[in-house]
């Protein structure tokens, strides 16, 4: 199964080659650099997440949800679209909706993660025996 996944990943990495090949010239296009960052980030993610202790898997889910709301960046750009462009009102509205949703996740995600993490305490003192 792991082998199949690795093969699929390797194949998937070659798919964008067709798209990139179309952009000509001797310089490396920014899309290729972005793809490189993506690949390395996947590896980093793999090693970092395996180091997360199972006791904290639930906060892991809530914090990854919070950081995936960095899509707010796209929403902010959309809301900031200048009204001179055509269809920009549509873009602004979609941007506003996305911004609101992402904000719920950002505040909700980080705060609920913090709330959970502050619940984890160690034994504070050795247990006294009775009698």
């Amino acid at each position: 199964m792991a082998r199949a996944v690795l093969l699929a990943l390797t194949a998937a990495m070659f798919m964008p080659t067709a798209a990139f090949a179309a952009e000509g010239g001797g310089h490396v296009s920014p899309s290729v650099y972005e793809f490189m960052v993506f690949v390395i980030a996947v590896f980093v993610g793999y090693y970092v997440v395996w180091s997360v202790t199972p006791a904290l898997h639930t906060p892991l889910m809530s914090v990854t949800n919070a950081i995936s709301s960095v899509i707010v960046v796209g929403a902010l750009l959309a809301v900031g679209v200048s009204l001179t462009a055509s269809d920009s009102a549509v873009a602004k509205i979609f941007g506003f909706l996305a911004l609101t949703m992402a904000s719920v996740n950002i505040f909700g995600g980080f705060l609920v993660t913090n709330r959970m993490l502050s619940m984890y305490k160690k034994k504070d003192a050795p247990v006294k025996k009775d009698g």
């Binding site: 199972p54 914090v63 709301s69 796209g74 549509v90 904000s103």
Partner: protein, 472 residues
């Protein structure tokens, strides 16, 4: 702000997010890690505001959006009970998916502002192919994440039955829809950005999201939520490529990997193949011959007093919590029971199975909420060898995760799944509401062993009665 400076700030945000995840390697470093995450997000938002330089009207919209969303998010985070964590996570994922769809839509309708036109001097030529490909991926995965998470939310919150909903020929339907989606995406790219093809992609993806989650049974939800967690990351990455935004690309990769790893761990914990879980149809139905009807084999029934007596006089007790404890909200009573035992000089440990509950780490967070010290809580690999040294075990709301059939019975549907070997202890006190079968629909041989005493009843009530009995 120049594009180069902005890109470096986005990189800083990405690095802080990596550190946030790294902080979760132990509870001691975790809160600081979360703080790093918050700082990273703040940097990303401020950088974007610096780049976009919004007009006054835009500022109003931005502050309004942040304010409304922030208020709802903060209020929810403050008030939600920990037992509702699985459905909350599912609901949050759905918001990320939908946000991805809306951001992609904005990029479609205002491509010049996002810098994705094929030829900025000639907007009629439409959007460039590479951007359309990235946008299509982002929006398709986002839409699937949205509806998939909504269904997961409905199942987890009880608004929808946990039983798998199996449409006739569902694999053929899903495959056909998948192929259709690929074709529409291809056409979308060829069309240089046709709006109606975009919305067709959205519609098909929304539908696929529903269809792939409804056949999955309620207790396979840990895998489903992890998978949707992963998808929300890939959707963000897709949008990140479309916008050429490094923070989104790094974050998408991190979240995507995280969800994938959690899905893998959950599947290993159930000893089921990921594809078989996704194909659905497992569990939740009334079971086969093994459970329910027919002769009742003899079981030893006990009372809270019986349990209290044995537990009090044990040197070492291991507690095994399961989903039943979460449903009954018995974690606080459980901790009181453990405190009473510790006062009486008993060593108390908790054993957590990776798929106990409805979400990875579910039991740990409920125990933490009940003030159980995390150094008394152990994962399966670390504690399984200690059951033979335990005088007594208290199983509360768990069933399939302590079923020896997984080790002994090759014909069992759970054969091969790692389980907690509770039967090796001196006495096992098994709390369940009744003798009915668990999620997998199979009988548990532990009920009938000589060293097992069934203490039937609601998990919270039974535990509270044991606490009372311990006080005598």
């Amino acid at each position: 702000m120049s594009a180069n400076v902005a890109a470096l700030f986005y990189l800083a945000a990405g690095v802080l997010f990596i550190l946030a995840l790294r902080g979760l390697s132990s509870p001691a470093t975790s809160r600081r890690g979360n703080l790093f995450g918050m700082v990273g997000m703040t940097i990303a938002i401020l950088t974007t505001l610096g780049l976009a330089a919004p007009t006054a009207t835009s500022w109003i919209l931005i502050l309004l959006g942040l304010g409304i969303g922030g208020f709802i998010g903060a209020k929810t985070a403050r008030e939600i009970p920990m037992t509702m964590m699985p459905e909350l996570i599912a609901a949050f994922h759905s918001l990320v998916g939908l946000a991805a769809v809306f951001v992609a839509a904005s990029a479609l309708y205002a491509p010049s502002a996002f810098g994705i036109l094929a030829d900025p001097a000639n907007p009629a030529l439409g959007i460039k192919g590479g951007s359309l490909f990235e946008m299509a991926l982002g929006v398709a995965i986002g839409a699937i994440t949205f509806t998939g998470s909504v269904i997961a939310f409905a199942k987890l919150s009880g608004r929808m039955s946990g039983k798998p909903i199996l449409l006739p020929m569902r694999h053929a339907i899903n495959a056909a829809l998948g192929l259709l989606l690929v074709f529409v995406i291809y056409s979308f790219i060829q069309s240089a950005g046709s709006a109606w093809l975009f919305w067709l992609i959205v519609f098909l993806s929304l539908l696929i999201g529903v269809l792939i989650i409804i056949p999955i049974g309620g207790a396979d939800m840990p895998v489903v939520i992890s998978m949707l967690n992963s998808y929300s990351g890939w959707a963000a990455a897709g949008i990140g490529f479309t916008l050429g935004n490094i923070a989104l690309i790094i974050t998408g990769a991190l979240v995507g990997s995280s969800g994938a790893i959690l899905s893998y761990i959950m599947c290993k914990g159930m000893n089921r193949q990921f594809l078989s879980v996704i194909a659905g149809g497992f569990g939740g139905e009334t079971a086969g011959a093994a459970a329910g009807g027919g002769e009742q084999k003899p079981v030893k029934l006990g009372s809270a007093e019986d349990a209290a007596y044995v537990l009090k006089n044990a040197a070492k007790v291991i507690i095994v919590p399961g989903y039943g404890m979460a449903v009954a909200q018995a974690q606080h009573a459980l901790r009181e029971m453990a405190d009473a035992l510790k006062k009486a000089g008993v060593e108390v440990k908790y054993a957590i199975h990776p798929v106990a509950g409805r979400m990875p780490g579910h039991m740990n967070v409920l125990l933490a909420e009940a003030n159980v010290p995390y150094d008394e809580v152990f994962e399966l690999e670390d504690i399984n060898s200690e059951f033979s040294q335990a005088d007594a075990v208290y199983v509360i709301g768990a069933n399939d995760v302590v079923n020896p059939a997984a080790e002994e019975d090759k014909t069992s549907p759970i054969y091969g799944m790692p389980v907690l070997q509770v039967w090796k202890a001196g006495t096992v006190f098994f709390n369940k509401r009744s003798l009915a079968s668990g999620y997998a629909g199979i009988d548990n041989p532990v009920f009938y062993r000589d060293n097992t005493v069934m203490v039937l009843g609601d998990a919270k009530k039974m535990t509270e009665e044991i606490v009372k009995a311990l006080a005598h």
